[in-house]
Amino acid sequence: MNMPHPPIIETKDLTIRFGGHLAVDHVSLQIPPFTFKSIIGPNGAGKTTFFNMISGQYRPTEGKVFLKGKDVTSLSPAIRTQLGIGRSFQLTNVFLSLTVLENVRLAIQSQKDIGFNFWKNYLSFSELENQAYEILKMVLLDTKWNVPASGLTHGEQRKLEIAILLALETEVLLLDEPTAGMALEEVPSILELLKQIKNRRDKTILLVEHKMDVLMALSDSIAVLHEGRLIADDTPEAVSKNREVQEAYFGGGRARG
């Protein structure tokens, strides 16, 4: 693949060991800006662990993570979010007792310079609520803005998660299995949403998934992890024809392991 821009995210020999277990093994990956890249692999391939090292929840045993050429390996997750890496989580991870609008508003607030203001009412920053409402419209949750997040269905909570991620306005979006645990009829609306975000071409999207069919149409490129190692990184067509991937992904893995 030709790369007109330098990569926005780059990992070099990223490795993490849990005790004796090598969860991610020297993965070097380059993600060009404004592209949609998926990371796939069977369960336990190290996808989420790899994600956690990019967003900062885990520190790698070895190797480095670069954001726009800057080494961010030793920075905390909060700082990385401020620098432009936002992420959603595989297990739904929203503020359950707060309203849907407040969940999104808090994400917007973190991007503004009012974080440490403790003398004004938060409602006096009304533009934050208006922005949050606009984002809720995008994910079709606007009618539920005043409901506590605990009152949403699982699928709606996943949408809220994406809304929070969009509200962070980070250049990079890390989506960890956005359709996980969702009812089948809810999946298309999430895919439609992802397509819309992709078509605007102002974000770099990195997505972890283990349902391959979800990604074929959306992804610009697909990286395949297997037992912690990167075994392919190519266009969707090429990856689906890759023999090693087929073996690893469609049952060959057990015979090898």
Binding site: F95, S97, Q109, G115, F116, F118, W119, N121, Y122, E129
Partner: protein
Amino acid sequence: MNPVQQFRLEEKGVRFRNPYFFLRILLLAFFVFTPFMFRSFEVLDVVLKIIIFSALVASYDVILGYTGIVSLGHVLYFGIGCYSVGIFMGNLGWISYGHLALAFLIAIAVSGILSVLIGLFSLRIRAIFFAMVTLAFMEFAFILSSQLRSITGGDDGISFKLPGILAVDYSIGHFLGIELTGRILSYFLILLICMILFLFMLRFVHSPVGRVLQSIRDNEPRSIALGYRTYLFQVIASSFASCVAAVAGACFAIWVRYVSPDSSLSVSIMLDVLLMVIVGGMGTLYGGIFGAAFLMVTRAFLPKLQVLVGSILPGVPMAARLSERWLFYFGLLFIIIVYFFPKGIVGTVQEFFSKRRTS
């Protein structure tokens, strides 16, 4: 205009017409008129302690109910406030308004600095560690206050006089049928200070910082992933609450004109504060008032049950013996409240009404 803006506008429109607003006015009116309604000092004493403990419990609620941090040493700052006034007025004998104000400022400064240091040092690590460290600091202060006899008066504590209009023997004459003594004026001064503290706390929890605190309570890792350095926010919350507790402590000293380790720094006060927060409702602020009222009123009047029963049923030994066990009834009441109001009095009532409104 989008539905959110419309909703906020409507909310603003009924700001002075909703039942909560009237309840607040009623509550304030009750506190203001208490000295005129009840002549007995005993009642006044109980009501004033309710006021002070409301502020103290609400400040604890900022940490526990709004931020989700467990501190077991919050009363330490209350004690700092008490001793600051006690040492200035009693030990040093600098009885003037200026020095009283200085004592307040020093209490706030010492509490603020100490809580920031404790927070920086122990909030980084797991929550249980913070609870243990704060408890240890409070115990340490308790021992210090009972050992440093030359400064704190040891276990005997310090009795002191207050300047000018706050002095016991001061009187400016009669008003609405009661004599406005130094006591009554102290009552109103403390009511005013505690009201200001309450307004400060309400503003604090409804500020951008306050909202972040609630997100930390709900889900700290998520809050971090939004880009908030949650640790700094926790330090801010704990030091803000500590300063409020210090002022409440200074007010307490003004009222009782006496400080001792047992009355201002002991673990049993901490337990009272915990009980009050649980009874009143965590994460509500106003719960503090009801929690404090429940505990103070039952504490003050349950022991009198014996006298009451004795006068109604004279010569029934069984009744007399049953009425002696007031602590038992207190425990029973506490269990009933926790059972029927799982989110505390205010929390459960709020939930009930918000459910009714949406359904």
